[in-house]
């Protein structure tokens, strides 16, 4: 187990290293950083001095090492446009994105999983067919369209939910949260549905096909032959066996949710990192773009690591070190 985690950690570090390399390349080669930082009236000498001060004359290796070192302690430099530390700006917007992503993921899982189980168990039921048809819509409609439709219906027509922004937030020592006010929750509803709908249908379809698969296995037949109650068979035996793929996909989807929040945040003017990233792209604000990239990669890596560890918890066959000791008996 420990060896496994260490191996995974090393792999994660490797991934992060490559992402840092991409971010650094972007930094160094997309436009001239000095040019971005100074006005047109700055003289050539001043520019060269700045170049020297920023260490842009050092060998690339040294520059990259410095970049990685700084990133590791959370120093991503100054935003070209806002002249503020990027880390500070990201941190400000992180809670909005994370809260939105979390609620979307919980929504997708809490609704998608039971729907998947239901459609798996009642394959020919009317409700199952209905769910499957609906899920096609979730898969095929683009996110922004769903968002706009929701806004049209609930904000414009019915006027029950806010069409943009986070509503009122409560500041918990720097972490501004939606979770403590009714208003905040109301503001979360539509963006979360918009962001989570695709994942919901994905999870539902995955759970359904996994359930169908598992219900055909010999051990389920044998469980029936032992006279176990249906509930024990369906939920204790079958559902648990679908968990490994479901955990994988859900984990990966959580990463995509955070990444895809860009679109939803734009539609709902949600003041998160995604919105900031899009603005940064428009203004070629490389430090923000680069650090956003690194942060997203970091989330993916951490989530993957957690997913891998969850496998261990769920599936005893993966606990190799205990298995080899008694392999044959």
């Amino acid at each position: 187990m420990v060896a496994f985690v260490i191996r995974r950690l090393i792999q994660s570090l490797l991934v992060m290293f490559f992402v840092a390399l991409v971010a650094f390349t972007m930094f160094r080669f997309v436009g001239d950083p000095v040019h971005q930082m100074v006005g047109i009236e700055t003289s050539m000498e001043e520019r060269e001095a700045l170049r020297e001060r920023l260490g842009l004359r050092d060998p690339l290796i040294v520059q990259f090492a410095r970049f990685v070192g700084n990133a590791a302690i959370g120093d991503f430099g100054l935003s070209y446009q806002h002249k503020r530390p990027v880390a500070e700006m990201l941190l400000e917007r992180l809670p909005a994105t994370l809260e939105l992503s979390l609620v979307s993921a919980v929504f997708a899982l809490a609704v998608g999983l039971p729907m998947g189980v239901y459609t798996g168990l009642h394959r020919h039921g009317v409700l199952s067919k209905f769910f499957l048809t609906i899920s096609l819509i979730g898969i095929s409609l683009p996110t922004f369209l769903i968002g706009i439709l929701l806004i049209y219906l609930f904000s414009v027509q019915l006027g029950v939910l806010p069409s943009f922004g986070r509503g009122s937030v409560v500041d918990l020592g720097g972490w501004r949260t939606n979770f403590l006010t009714v208003d905040g929750w109301k503001a979360l509803i539509m963006p979360s549905i918009t962001l989570g709908l695709f994942q919901l249908t994905l999870i539902m379809r995955l759970v359904r096909s996994e359930m169908l698969e598992v219900l055909r296995t010999d051990y389920i037949k044998f469980a029936r032959a032992r006279g176990l109650a249906d509930r024990a068979i369906n939920f204790g035996h079958a559902l648990k066996n679908t968990m490994v793929p479901v955990i994988t996909i859900t984990g990966l989807q959580l990463g995509s949710i955070i990444a895809f929040a860009i679109i939803t945040e734009t539609v709902f003017q949600w003041p998160g990192m995604g919105q900031m990233f899009l603005l940064a792209v428009q203004n070629v604000d490389i430090p923000i773009m680069a650090s956003y990239l690194i942060l997203i990669a970091f989330f993916f890596v951490v989530i993957n690591l957690i997913v891998d560890i969850l496998y261990y918890v769920v599936d005893p066959r993966l606990r190799v070190d205990t298995a080899t000791a008694n392999g044959h008996g």
Binding site: R224, L228, N241
Partner: protein
Amino acid sequence: MATPLLEVRNLVVQFPTRRGTLTAVDDISFHIDEGEVLGVVGESGAGKSMTGAAVIGLLEPPGRIAGGQVLLQGRRIDNLPYEQMRRIRGKEIGAIFQDPLTSLNPLYSVGRQLVETIQTHTDMSPTQARARTIELLTEVGIPAPERRVDQYPHQFSGGMRQRVVIALALCVNPRLIIADEPTTALDVSIQAQIIALLKRLCREHGTAVMLVTHDMGVIAETADRVAVMYAGRIAEIGPVREVIKNAKHPYTHGLMGSIPAVGHDAERLEQIPGSMPRLTDIPQGCAFNPRCPHVFDRCRQDRPDLIPVEDSRVSCWLYDRASGPGIEVAKARVASTHADDLQEAADV
């Protein structure tokens, strides 16, 4: 006569398919007495597994019982509501399947699966159930059961897993076990051990067994009576000695040509040329008639039912009083058939 433990009367199992209804088990009747081992043999596709599944109420849809009755201790069980039949499964009729590697849920320890089964059918406390579990593991010959009880299926070898499966099938002392090729998937060297274990445990507990197998050696050593199935019907059924040494049905005679030691498939030693017809084109009359060296007119028209001959029952017109040549002549004819004759018949 006392009520038999299991009685199957005119059982018909069908599969509705797009091209029409297939009849996998066609009007078969047999019984199993308390504590008796009934061997069931026959080529692949003869309907052995379907019969077992129908008895325990686990036919996979769209397969269904289309006719007949299944009685357990005189009580009909083929038409019970799902929930009532579930209570009989495991408690009164246990099952053992072919592949021990896939019969156990990989995510739960063997102990948990045993405790779960015991608690489903009895009101033992978790502690009692666990104690019973360790007892059972000891009984099926698993070394160091106190340690093994918390291990997962993948930590057991195939043979050990089948021992666990046997423990699961026997854990609440069912009256009948349906063992569908319990050793086919195992190493030849382990097959005999597992059969010996099953035989010993069932004898000790007075459990009856319906033992489906391709292995004539196993039948010879284990069964009290044997049913030979062919194309969804019983060709011959009777005491094991009688059927093996004194086969009356031409098909059985071919099948029994030589009885290998435990661990050999009857299939591989198949002596009868030709193959069993598919469900879609079973010939009129006796299903065996295209391969039978003794075929005569009536065989191609009417389907024979089981006819009592000595201690056995045989579905073959040779033994019919009216149309056959007389029982002694029929027996002599069948007994004198050689592989060559069979070959000739198939060539015609």
